[in-house]
Point group: C2
């Protein structure tokens, strides 16, 4: 029932809002002139110029060389400052770590991954490994990093604590944000589930690899296949995390009521039928590279199990687009077609796509979420 | 970027907002004095008195006899007008119709249900049957009905059209709102899925029967058991309908990958294992009354199938409270305990409750949604 008081606070809020608005318009249309920003925002040219000066001073925008031609003062197009504040993305997986730096435009400026086994080592080992890699990519990128985001295959609680990670024994109630902030000397502003971030990467950057025609639209389910199987659910352009933040645990949807015992305590979970270890078993191979070299025996059981679990997801969530990521993306179009056929038989037409192969999505989104936050709150 | 212009339009909006605010406070605290409303809303007594006069004139509030005592003018407590605009709720089920009238306070003033087979008859037969019942309850209630809401076991599209109802053959693209508005002479303001409305009834009115201690809280999954099996998903006090409005189709989550063919075209759906027809088959009974008289052979398979499907729902949606309704509520605590045990073994502790038995929930919520809308937009 209270409206914002006129005067100081209100004007301050409006100015902050307008700074973000100008930044957003430059990000959407760069390179763009001040006049172009004024036309797109409805702000006066004087207001835009004043806001732009502040954003240039803050290192968020730069002017390109003035474009000559026409009459009057030549227009200097604006763009996001590629040398401005950068975002650091970190990933701690079951058997690897990753780190990357993106600039304000979201472009990856340095990215490294390294094997790092975490199942039988304490969390401090994984945190140390990712911090070491972080130092290397930050040095490589040569940008001033303003914050870090972390991707993890677990359930994240308040304050960037990992509450529980089924495939990372020992990672229970670990204050990842606080620990890494200390190790890195860079504030960790977000810790999030790996599949959720990979889904946001799909939303923000679209499939850049074998993904077929264009982005998956604003509503889709991203399946992250690996040792664990998780899903990031995007509804109308927003991440759906459920009431308690634990939604999307596709890997523990039951696909064989009397199936194998799962690490989660359940039985017949998708992860036991279509996780990395099940696929290695099915193909009698020992490594993912071997599996990818002769995947024949893995495709059908994986597609069938994914089809059963995704049928449930389609009916419960009303999503009609599925993006297969992680190991599933590497298994390629044969798996995609089999999953699509399984879904067609069970639930009707569902658009199944492949994400760009590799683990970069969650990592890039972890870094990009830092600069997006910076652009939203300049 | 535009703020509401000061003056006419803004003040009009504020007054409408304040009318709804006053109504809401009276609904929450009735009977309540004007001074009480002023204290709870932060509005001045003068403003409250002016708003209250308008609401009394519109037939939405009434004054009770003045309470004597104390000094000054005696206070006349306010309450919602039980003789004011009423809501009509209608339900079209697979084998029955229902109609009820609630007054502004949500109290049921008349309610009737009648058997009515719809599977082998065209939609016009069901619409005629429910319109006939509606006329009877409206006459019985003796209130001025301001609108109607309709519950149906199907997928509802824009404009109150039923797009598809798996258990009501022929109900494809039927303009239910328009047809019933014509038949009743009362505007049909909402057509909604039966399970969604039953879930809202649980949220609004709480379990009133064998449901255990109190309301289920703001996040739960309501399972409507019958010939079809549907779910209404309530997250943080709001109905979750998914991007396309079709979320919650629990009945078609796969519980036996190689199970029976389902009417939906799929295979091994929950409905084929735990829907009414499967339970009748399991108990070799012909009617629901026979089933309820000797349910032994039905409980275990139903609990197991529900446990498998609900495990998926818990993992995908992150709900930890399940309310069993419809036929499942009538099967009672033995089913409840079995489902809870099945979930405990598969996913951990989940609070499983029974709704009040009977079909009244969706019907009452369909009627209540009409008066709630009226109170929100006086």
């Amino acid at each position: 029932m209270t409206l914002p008081a006129p005067g100081g606070a209100g004007q301050h809020t409006v100015r902050r809002h307008n700074l973000a608005l100008v930044l957003g318009e430059v990000a959407a249309a760069e390179p763009v002139s001040r006049a172009g920003v004024a036309a797109r925002t409805g702000l006066t040219r004087g207001t835009v110029s004043s806001l732009v000066e502040e954003l240039i001073e803050a290192g968020l925008l730069t002017e390109l060389a003035a474009a000559r031609g026409g009459t009057g003062r030549p227009a200097s197009p604006l763009q996001l400052n590629r040398s401005g504040p950068a975002g650091l993305g970190l990933e701690i997986g079951v058997d690897h770590v990753g780190a990357c730096v993106v600039d304000l435009s979201g472009t990856v400026r340095a990215l490294r991954t390294a094997p790092s086994a975490h199942r039988d080592r304490p969390p401090t080992a994984g945190l140390g490994a990712v911090a070491e890699l972080a130092a290397a990519v930050v040095a490589e990128a040569g940008l001033a990093v303003c914050g870090a985001g972390v991707a993890l295959p677990g359930l994240i609680g308040a304050g960037g604590r990992v509450q529980h990670a089924p495939n990372l024994p020992g990672w229970t109630d670990v204050p990842v944000a606080a620990e890494l902030t200390g190790l890195l000397g860079i504030p960790v502003v977000q810790v999030a589930n790996e599949a959720d971030l990979a889904a946001l990467a799909e939303l923000w950057f679209g499939p850049s690899g074998a993904a077929g025609p264009g982005r998956p639209g604003p509503t889709f389910l991203f399946v992250s296949g690996g040792i664990g199987v998780g899903a990031g659910i995007v509804l109308d352009g927003r991440l759906f995390r459920g009431a308690g933040g634990r939604a999307g645990e596709l890997g523990h949807v039951v696909v064989e009521p009397d199936g194998r015992r799962c690490r989660c305590g359940g039985r017949g979970c998708l992860e036991q039928a279509a996780g990395q270890e099940a696929l290695l078993r099915a193909t009698a191979t020992a490594t993912v590279d071997d599996l990818l070299a002769r995947p024949a025996a893995a495709i059908d059981p994986a597609a069938r199990a994914l089809g059963v679990a995704l049928t449930g997801a389609v009916h419960l969530l009303d999503v009609r687009t599925v993006v297969l990521g992680g190991l599933y993306a590497r298994l390629g179009d044969r798996l995609r077609r089999s999953v699509e056929a399984e879904l067609a038989a069970r639930v009707g037409p569902v658009d199944v796509r492949l994400s760009a192969p590799g683990t970069g999505g969650a990592l890039r989104a972890a870094a990009a979420s830092v600069v997006r936050e910076r652009l939203n709150s300049p």
